[in-house]
């Protein structure tokens, strides 16, 4: 048998990539990638190195990464139990609860920030007591940034985990019960491992959303370099006086995000086949 390069490569079956799908897909990719390419093309490449390692970029980046990660941890700690309640909790009015949980998704982030101020601000419903009794004040602090980011990003995690829980087979939990496992042990050692892909996917979305959060952060936590100036805020501020600095910051943020997301193995998100 003669081995030509084509036969070794193997041709796709007829109609595997129909033009009617490929063409819009290419347009879609272009729509998403061309603006990012524009960033790279217009970057001030000559001054890039000195700008990249300036103190403000470093501070903003560090703050962004730390706050996004902390916000994700909070979302996991609160969101997984909430997702469990929605999926398995057998509550009346579950539909309403789920709708409320997804409100931060449709709320403009600035409105979210205002709402947080009204509740957790110094004169807020709860904030005033936090301030009076414990001296805790969230606005203008890094903790405030984390709270604002967690508020907007939590729905992503909850929805993802709830979906995974619904798809999980409850019979395995029954099997664990017959083996003597308490409900908490069953959740930890049977349910959670089985929904791990959903948890990972939700965490990634949550982290990415938190990283990019702007409106709620600037409204609730304010803006101060080193404490509350995250990368998106730094970009917005730089845009007014020094657009080139804004481009540099944007590229840094873009690179970090792409590295983290690309580093996530497909396997962890889609689960074992």
């Amino acid at each position: 048998m003669i081995r030509t390069p084509e036969s070794r490569r193997g041709r796709p079956a007829h109609g595997r990539r129909p033009v009617v799908l490929v063409l819009p897909a290419v347009l879609g990719i272009a729509f998403l990638i061309v603006p990012l390419a524009g960033l790279l093309i217009r970057a001030p490449w000559d001054t890039l190195p000195s700008r990249l390692f300036s103190a403000e970029v470093g501070a903003a980046l560090r703050l962004s990464l730390v706050c996004a990660s902390l916000a994700t941890v909070i979302c996991l700690l609160l969101g997984i139990p909430l997702a469990w309640l929605l999926a398995r909790g057998d509550l009346p009015g579950r539909g309403l609860l789920r709708a409320l949980v997804t409100v931060p998704l449709v709320l403009p982030p600035v409105v979210g920030g205002v709402a947080l101020l009204l509740v957790l601000g110094r004169r807020g419903l709860i904030g005033q007591h936090l301030d009076a009794w414990f001296g805790i004040s969230l606005p203008f602090t890094t903790a405030g940034v984390v709270v604002a980011e967690a508020f907007v990003a939590m729905p992503f995690l909850v929805i993802s985990v709830e979906g995974a829980l619904r798809a999980a087979d409850p019979r395995y939990e029954e099997a664990a019960a017959t083996l003597g496992a308490s409900r908490w042990l069953t959740f930890r050692r049977v349910t959670l491992p089985s929904i791990m892909p959903g948890v990972v996917a939700g965490s990634v979305l949550c982290w990415a959303r938190a990283l990019g959060e702007f409106g709620a952060t600037i409204t609730f936590a304010g803006n101060f370099p080193g404490t509350t100036t995250t990368m998106p805020l730094a970009v917005y501020l730089a845009l007014e006086t020094d657009p080139e600095a804004a481009i540099v910051l944007s590229i840094v943020l873009l690179l970090v995000a792409v590295l983290v997301l690309a580093g996530l193995r497909d396997r962890w998100i889609s689960g074992p086949s």
Binding site: G121, R123, I218, F224, P225, L239, E240
Partner: protein, 256 residues
């Protein structure tokens, strides 16, 4: 088929309304005092919100057929937008530096001056007495970011007073700072005297001597590439007129 006709009609309506949105028909106007017509787009510093809105209403009353549209924001943000090609007829900034940033401005004229004042929430819960409190770390302080005119003025004032300010947040425009004061989130902030006045009894003002040494000149200019050049000139003339000055003084601005 009926559904196709309906779709075509829908598309037509949408297209027409979009066209309607985009157009700003040029109007006619002659000398100062004669009626101007058409839509006039004014980019104005945030601190001019209340006074210019009032001026706009007065202008429309004097010039039926004219419609004034405002875009209030921090002066530096507005300058950026104009440089990026945002269509506008008039630019009124809170400092000459921002006006200089705009390549397109015809000869600017100073139409008002503004000085800073300390703003505290109603009841002065932080017991703020003067500028010295701005250096105390246990106070919650809001300032404008340096790029914004009120932030530049604040920096100058602190330099004169020899105080190192310890702000907790640097906001994008003076109205955002004022909001933090109104909500009681901060103990004190530096805003314009006009802002304190505009906020009514939600906010208390405390004057301080150094404010006299860092007064902002507010320039106004009709833009060279204004879509409604005649209307632009008419509005600028109105602002500079006696009537305009009356409104501005009532708001708390100093005369130029």
């Amino acid at each position: 088929m009926r559904s196709t006709a309906r779709l075509a009609a829908l598309v037509g309506i949408v297209a027409l309304s979009l066209v309607g949105c985009g157009s700003s028909p040029t109007g006619s106007a002659g000398q100062p005092g004669s009626t101007a017509t058409g839509e006039i787009t004014v980019f104005a510093a945030a601190s001019l919100t209340e006074s210019f809105t009032r001026l706009g209403a007065d202008f429309e009353a004097a010039n039926p057929g004219a419609r004034v549209k405002f875009n209030f924001a921090g002066s530096s943000a507005l300058a950026q937008q104009l440089n990026q090609g945002a269509p506008a007829d008039v630019f009124a900034a809170a400092a000459p530096a921002n006006m200089k940033q705009v390549a397109d401005a015809a000869t600017p004229t100073t139409f008002a001056r503004n000085r800073l004042q300390i703003a505290v929430p109603k009841g002065n819960p932080g017991k703020v007495t003067g500028l010295a409190d701005f250096g105390k770390p246990d106070r919650k302080i809001a300032l404008c970011a340096e790029q914004v005119p009120c932030g530049a003025a604040a920096k100058k004032v602190f330099g004169i007073a020899g105080i190192t300010a310890a702000p907790d947040t640097l906001e994008q425009d003076v109205k955002a700072v004022l909001t933090k004061v109104k909500l009681g989130e901060v103990d004190a902030a530096l805003v314009y005297r006009t802002d304190v006045r505009a906020a009514g009894d939600q906010v208390e003002g405390i004057a301080f001597p150094e404010a006299d040494q860092a007064v902002n000149d507010y320039p106004i200019a009709a833009l060279a590439k204004a879509p409604n050049a005649a209307g632009a000139r008419a509005f600028v003339d109105f602002v500079l007129s006696a009537k305009g000055r009356e409104v501005l003084t009532a708001a708390g601005f100093d005369s130029p």
